[in-house]
């Protein structure tokens, strides 16, 4: 039963990876064309979809370091976005 569903699951995973790539291209376009805060937002989006794609890669292909990279991207990326947004606002405690 599972062997019958496995190829379909892999196909859905590939489709989700392609959708992640399209979202990453849109985020990169946002990052290179806008001002500082817009670039920060685009980079945050790119990091999110990259992490989701890496997690899916780890599920599909059993590559262990993809999971660790994805965890680091999600945790450090979101926290760094908040910190840099605070800095761009004019200070951490303003």
């Amino acid at each position: 039963m599972i062997e019958f569903i496995k190829p379909v699951f892999e196909l859905a995973g590939y489709i989700f990876l392609v959708a992640c790539s399209i979202a990453a291209i849109s985020g990169l376009r946002l990052a290179v064309k806008g001002e500082a805060v817009t670039s920060l937002m685009g980079i945050g989006t790119v990091m999110t979809v990259a992490a989701a794609g890496l997690f899916l890669t780890q599920i599909l292909f059993d590559v262990e370091f993809c999971r660790d990279t994805a965890v680091a991207l999600l945790l450090l990326g979101s926290l760094a976005t908040i910190v840099f947004a605070r800095i761009l606002r004019g200070g951490m405690y303003r």
């Binding site: 599972i2 859905a12 489709i15 946002l30």
Partner: protein, 141 residues
């Protein structure tokens, strides 16, 4: 009312129909085809649900990407907030796919990281909008 609006208006009935269909498929697999419930039938239905969630997530991601491409600078300076919302949709979709697929295929680490990221998304969007407001709107005053 477009076709998409009609489909979204019937979304709760689609979810109820899918749950009923999954329950019927489980019943048929266990009682008619004599497949073991915990070893094969339940993981198979969970995998099919994960496939459907990933396909729905792909549709949302592609729609959000098209929105990011469409809303350029010609829409004025307040378009930043629309872009911020679209990026929030992308983040939410990725987090929900990680949570639901992680739970359905039995990967607790994936679901845990998804939960953490899902909790931190509003703070990211708020910090970005606040920074943009401080840089542009307050500077104009």
């Amino acid at each position: 009312m477009s076709l998409l609006d009609k489909l979204l208006a019937k979304l709760e009935w689609l979810v109820v129909a899918y749950i009923a269909g999954a329950a019927a498929a489980l019943y048929a697999l266990v009682n008619i085809y004599r497949i073991d419930l915990w070893a094969e039938a339940l993981p198979a239905v969970a995998r099919v649900t994960a496939i459907i969630i990933m396909l729905f997530g792909s549709v949302f991601l592609v729609c959000a990407s098209v929105g990011l491409w469409r809303f350029g600078d010609e829409w004025g300076r307040h378009i930043f907030y629309a872009r911020n919302h679209i990026c929030g949709v992308v983040d939410d979709t990725c987090a929900l796919v990680m949570i639901l697929v992680g739970i359905l295929i039995g990967r607790v680490d994936l679901a845990a990281i998804g939960f953490f990221f899902f909790a931190i998304i509003p703070f990211v969007g708020n910090a970005l909008a606040n920074a943009y407001y401080s840089n542009t709107e307050e500077a104009r005053r």
